[in-house]
């Protein structure tokens, strides 16, 4: 419980820092802290695969991409008016509403799931077997989608290069 409290505090602090800090790169680094905190929470729940994949994908790749995007775009300086936008109240309401819906769904779903006496022990091998066996079709569809997105990105980049000549 103490460990959970520390990790939760770390994650929430990272998330809050990501929206409150004035320097955009600091925000990106704070997001990385929040991702790492989430990964540690997954590990705390014995979800090794989710935890390590979280670090590998989010800390290793997504945070880096965010940082690159910040550095390669102009006007990433914070405006003099501060980081709070004028419509922060509406944003807060929407965020709270989304959180409420998600929390409600999670709490309700507890009744629908079969009650298990012991914690299920899910190993990485089981996840692999499930992905390659029962869920192979969704996996392939996601793969096709990602490939299509990648090809699209390459085409967008190539077009710009061609017109510049």
């Amino acid at each position: 419980m103490v460990i959970f409290a520390i990790l939760a505090a770390l994650t929430v602090a990272g998330g809050l820092a990501a929206v409150m800090l004035r320097n955009t790169v600091h925000c990106a680094l704070a997001v990385a802290v929040a991702f790492a905190g989430l990964a540690l929470l997954f590990l705390r729940l014995n979800a090794q695969f989710a935890g390590f994949a979280q670090i590998l994908v989010y800390v290793g790749a997504v945070a880096i991409l965010v940082v690159f995007a910040i550095l390669l775009t102009r006007n990433s300086e914070t405006p003099a008016t501060g980081v709070f936008s004028k419509t922060w109240l509406a944003g807060l309401v929407i965020a709270a509403a989304v959180f409420a819906v998600l929390a409600w769904a999670v709490i309700k779903s507890q009744a629908a799931l079969p009650q298990e006496q012991t914690e299920p022990q899910i190993s990485v091998a089981q996840i692999g077997n499930a992905l390659m066996g029962r869920y192979v079709l969704p996996l392939e569809i996601v793969a096709v989608l990602l490939t299509a997105a990648m090809i699209g990105a390459v085409i967008v980049a190539m077009h710009e290069k061609g017109s510049a000549k």
């Binding site: 090794q48 590998l56 800390v59 945070a63 550095l71 990485v124 091998a125």
Partner: protein, 391 residues
């Protein structure tokens, strides 16, 4: 006797924690392993720095360090003392917190990787089911620290070096993972202990190392290339190309922080060599069945040091690549070849035991490399060397 020598470190650990009360034992056991890792690998770091400076000296027809101690063997000690007592300069406009955190975090994540490496029989610190995944997760975190170092220095050279380093590390991480996946496909496990177990078998006294299978060998070559790029070693050391970027992302670091980057780089090299040895060269297993009398940990460290010598040899031999060559090589050659390798590994799995699969898999890989190489050479239109001078 052989067995005792093989397990000497494990027995030593059990002997030490035997003196302690039961509730303290797990903590002290973990602490002892951590201390051992933190003592051994910086020691190897010192040895490899000395080897590198001496070896490079030989390759470049000079003597190398020879003043401190007999034949200059105490040079790393002198370097360490120098780094400790140097002034720690922080640029005025640097981002102090991030500037301080970057080297510390780099060293932390680099050392974390050792937690899952099997350094001998029963000598894995954390025998984890998803060990390989853990290792790569830690390797991926190192990229962020490199960026932090370059960005927080507020120096154009640092930032350029960091951008180069991050782009290179992300690009070569893909083939690094893909070439390791071949091994995972062949063993059916992400646990590094299991991977070594599978390789620790002998036919006619010869080991079942994965490097001796067709796709294992191809993956080994690709892994070695990607590992060199991942640790920013020559010929892939553009991020710290002295002639262009002063020292890359750690230009603005001095004193002990610089030493931390230096340590981080070499410890990462040692660790990725350890991973390569574990995946392809049988980890702690002996190269011949009769050599099993030699303790298992000796083989692991011997393989690491062989790999380091290979790195030094490459650094003394190859010129540095250009940035576009580096990227083209990663995405247009190494990645397709590792993907092909995955297909071949699947074929190997489904062709069953026998002689035929050796012929078919070798033929596919060989023809792919030969045809790919021929086409690549032809499209480059290599002719007699020509020189262009600045007017």
């Amino acid at each position: 006797m052989t067995n005792t020598l093989d397990q000497i470190f494990v027995l030593l650990k059990h002997w030490i924690i035997g003196f302690l009360p039961v509730w303290l034992q797990p903590i002290v056991a973990a602490l002892l392993s951590v201390v051992a890792i933190l003592a051994v690998f910086p020691g190897l770091f010192a040895i490899s720095v000395l080897l590198e400076r001496k070896g490079l000296g030989r390759m470049q027809n000079r003597i190398g360090p020879n003043r401190v101690g007999p034949l200059g063997v105490l040079q790393p000690v002198a370097d360490g003392i120098k780094a400790l007592i140097k002034e720690d300069v922080i640029p005025y406009s640097a981002d102090h917190v991030v500037h301080f955190l970057a080297p510390v975090m780099l060293v932390v994540v680099v050392f974390m990787g050792y937690a899952v490496l099997p350094m001998g029989r029963n000598m894995t610190f954390v025998p984890m089911d998803a060990g390989l995944l853990f290792y790569f997760a830690m390797g991926a975190s190192a990229e962020l620290t490199v960026f932090m170092a370059g960005w927080s220095s507020r120096n154009k050279y640092s930032l350029l070096g960091a951008m180069r380093a991050v782009a290179q590390m992300i690009s070569y991480e893909v083939p690094l993972l893909m070439s390791s996946v071949v091994i995972v496909m062949m063993t059916g496990s992400l646990s590094l202990d299991k991977i070594v177990e599978v390789q620790n078998q002998y036919t006619w006294g010869l080991p079942h190392w994965f490097v001796f299978t067709p796709m294992g060998f191809a993956a080994f070559v690709m892994f070695a290339i990607a590992a060199t790029a991942e640790t920013n070693r020559s010929p892939f050391d553009l991020p710290e190309g002295e002639s262009e970027l002063v020292a890359g992302y750690f230009t603005e670091y001095s004193g002990f922080k610089f030493a931390e980057f230096f340590l981080g780089e070499y410890v990462a090299m040692l660790s990725i060599s350890g991973l390569g040895a574990t995946l392809f060269l049988g980890g702690w297993s002996a190269p011949l069945a009769i050599l099993n009398v030699v303790p298992s940990w000796f083989w692991f460290f011997a393989k690491i040091m062989t790999w380091i010598c290979f790195y030094i040899w490459m650094r003394g031999t190859f010129p540095r690549l250009r940035q576009d060559q580096l990227m083209n090589f990663a995405w247009k050659f190494v990645l397709p070849m590792t993907l092909l390798n995955l297909l071949v590994a699947g074929l190997w799995r489904f062709m069953g035991e026998g002689f035929l699969r050796w012929v078919v898999c070798s033929a596919i890989l060989l023809s792919a490399y030969i045809i790919g190489g021929r086409i690549g050479m032809r499209s480059k239109k290599f002719g007699p060397r020509s020189y262009r001078y600045a007017e």
